[in-house]
Amino acid sequence: MKCEDFVQRMDDYLDSALPENEQKTIDAHLTECDHCRRQIRSTQALLCQAAALPKTIEPDHDLWPAVKANIQASGMRHRSITELARLRWNWRVAAVLVAIAALMLAAMIVFTNHRESRPNSEPDPTVRRNVREELQAPKAKLAPSSISKQITEETTNGAIASENSSARLGQVKDSTSCECEPSAETLGVIENALLVDESLPSSRSVEVVSDRLFARALENNDDFFLLKTSLDVLPFPYRVPESVRARFKGLHIQYPDNAGITYLYSYTLFGTSTPEMIRLMKQLIAENPSFPWPNLALAKAYGFPNMPVDMSSSGYIYNDPNKIQTHIRAFMKLCPQSPEPIRVLFPATDSPFFSATVLRMRELLVTRTDTRSLLMYPALWQMEGDRRMGVVDMNELRRRLSADLKQLQNMAAGRPAEFLFVLVSGYQKIGDMGTVRALVAKDGSYEGRNAFVAFDSQEWSANNPAPASDTTMQVKTAYWEKRLQKNDEWIKKAPESTFAWMDRLKALSELKGHPESEFIAVGERVQSLLRENDGFYLDFLKTASLYANRDVRLEQIPSMIREGLVVAEKRDLETKNDLVSAEFNIGMGRFNEWQYAENAWHALFDAYVRIADMGRARSVLDEVAKGLVDWRKQIADLQSGIRPVNSLSLSTMTNGLVASEKWLTEARGRLGSGK
């Protein structure tokens, strides 16, 4: 295609009015021709500007008195409109009417002015305001769209909307225009909202930030980007508080025809009602092709999970790399200056598209200074080193990364705690561990201190490998004493770090010379931290195993294991989503939980055998056998196709089951032979 051909077709291309093959020809031309690419970008920028113009302009003065005068002058006509229609042919009649109207107009202006000076004749201003407010979103009320109608019908209660907001919400700007960027003012509000109490773990602070952004949105004329960011900071599709969904449902009920609100509401369905979310987003695109955001929401859904596609495979129902590409392209066409596609690009498999987009994203990202954009750097670095980029010159990559880091460090002041991880991930990538250490050592936030403990322990363990199991007790004791000393520093640095306390418990479980009370005190601290901080189920189960290894409070261990499984079940519920097929939900995750629980039972069995309490040891084997019966049934279901599962997961589970059965047989043998 020649550039002249492109120029002729550009407007149709932008309006998506070309047949698909021509659209593709132009796409191809644009990837090659800088000049035309610049031209299309400047036109897109123009269209975005046009779409952002206000839909209303108030006249300098009130036109109503003049309109009213005309109306009153034509009073006779209005009453006998059909009669007038019959007379229309008669120009003489019309001329007479016009003359009469002119006379009446003059009279009415005098009359009107006189009337308006009488306060009682004015309509009640509050009544007027109410009616006006209700008319503010007239389209919504007169002709609810098919989408909104359906949702409104489905909804019965639970919607939350503030009184204050309801007055303003009439002015919610319809964000169907191609709004790609928040205004500078909104960006400032977002920056402030991201700065929260640094003593909070990030899992808590995102909820604080989300609530805060929602509140700011209500204070700022229900700004679309503030509302959007209040959702973007949450870990969709996982662990999103119901209150957040209810908020947006409430807004949607009030403003069913506002595309921006419909988009936000639909996004909250991500993970719980994904097919519905996909349907609504598609419909939004069909009805408002210039509204960019549904494209990214769909790209995210089709790319779930956001990991290399090789690892994703059949369990992820909506995974479709072609669709990811289509929607990213559509978004980039509408918002050519936005680096947001970085967030959803990774699972797009096609190499040329992937590499071209990554290059473009870098161009865009380096011009940004806002925190939300800067947090995208690790994703960019990860993609730049991906094999889909072709042959990567590692030295060049390292040089570029170092330059990024230098710039990012200059911008680090006053950023939220998460920003530290951008720097840490970058310096780790270039292997500059000295800087990583210095960065995390001086960071006083919750996440920073915990990161320091994790980093320092990793480094310490690398320099001080744990003794092999066949070394002498003396060597082992020396090692664990040394580790215990080091652990004092970690606990001093991050007294709320579950990791540091678990590490201490592990050391004490090995150091039988230390008093049991010391072990129990640390164990209780670990358990209370796990309960306070929504600890990971595995840590509950590991703690149970450590108690068993130390032969301490064995009678409490079964309830500790059960607590771990309850926590695991809670996590399963919180992270359950409909993007993953049922067999994945039930499959490997649950299997791992069961295996870790089984490890704890094994440790407890060993402890009872050590203290020669064979009765209790036998009851532990009964528990294990019960678990095995459940798992045999689960695997049989999966094999028979009642719950289909991929072959790799199935073989892992089957092997696990065989190993557990073997252990059980051997353990029964040990009891039987009285060992």
């Binding site: 389209k139 007169l142 009030q254």
Partner: protein, 186 residues
């Protein structure tokens, strides 16, 4: 604070009220029509001002549009939304105005190359915003740009309203976008 009135009920109430207002106005209630006027005047005036590019002309035409709406209100049967009905009526009237007069043509010579236009250079110097830049467009190109890129009309609809061929409409849009790109230096 949580709203004390169930939202569903509120939504139902609104719908009934808006219809009632139109029905009241249709039966001759001027107070009801004033509410309709106040709701829509900003949008109608924006279209007038952008296409006509002259405040006093936009004032005149906006008044006429509402007067015409009052006269023709009986013909609104609710097949489309009221706002669509009103805006279509407004655009037909604006187009009639544009055709009937030479007023409103921006002083950019129709055939002169846009880049060499002194007005464009002038605009460059002033770093015009889009709103002002639109007023510099030739009137037909301006009308097409406003209707297509701001109001979301299709070429066929614009061509029909303007009484021109669809091809002319497309050409005018390309022209308008080209001029604006130059003027805005984007």
């Amino acid at each position: 604070m949580v709203s004390s009135r169930p939202l569903m009920e509120k939504a139902g109430y609104l719908e009934k009220d808006a219809w009632d207002l139109i029905a009241d106005a249709q039966s001759g209630n001027q107070a009801a029509f004033e509410e309709i006027y106040r709701t829509h005047v900003g949008r109608v005036y924006a279209i007038c001002l952008r296409i006509l590019a002259d405040r006093s002309w936009a004032d005149d035409v906006a008044q006429q549009i509402f007067f015409r709406a009052w006269i023709k209100l009986h013909s609104f049967r609710g097949e489309s939304s009221f706002s669509s009905w009103l805006y279509r009526l407004a655009i037909n009237m604006i187009m009639g105005e544009l055709k009937s007069t030479n007023r409103g043509n921006a002083p950019v010579p129709e055939n002169e190359h846009i880049i060499s236009s002194p007005h464009v250079e002038f605009a460059h110097n002033l770093k015009l915003d889009l709103e002002k830049a639109i007023t510099l467009l030739p009137k037909q190109a301006r009308a097409v740009f406003v209707l297509h890129d701001l109001e979301g009309w299709k070429h066929v609809e614009i061509a029909e309203a303007m009484g021109v061929a669809v091809g002319t409409c497309r050409a005018q849009l390309a022209r308008a976008r080209g001029i604006l790109r130059e003027v805005l230096g984007s």
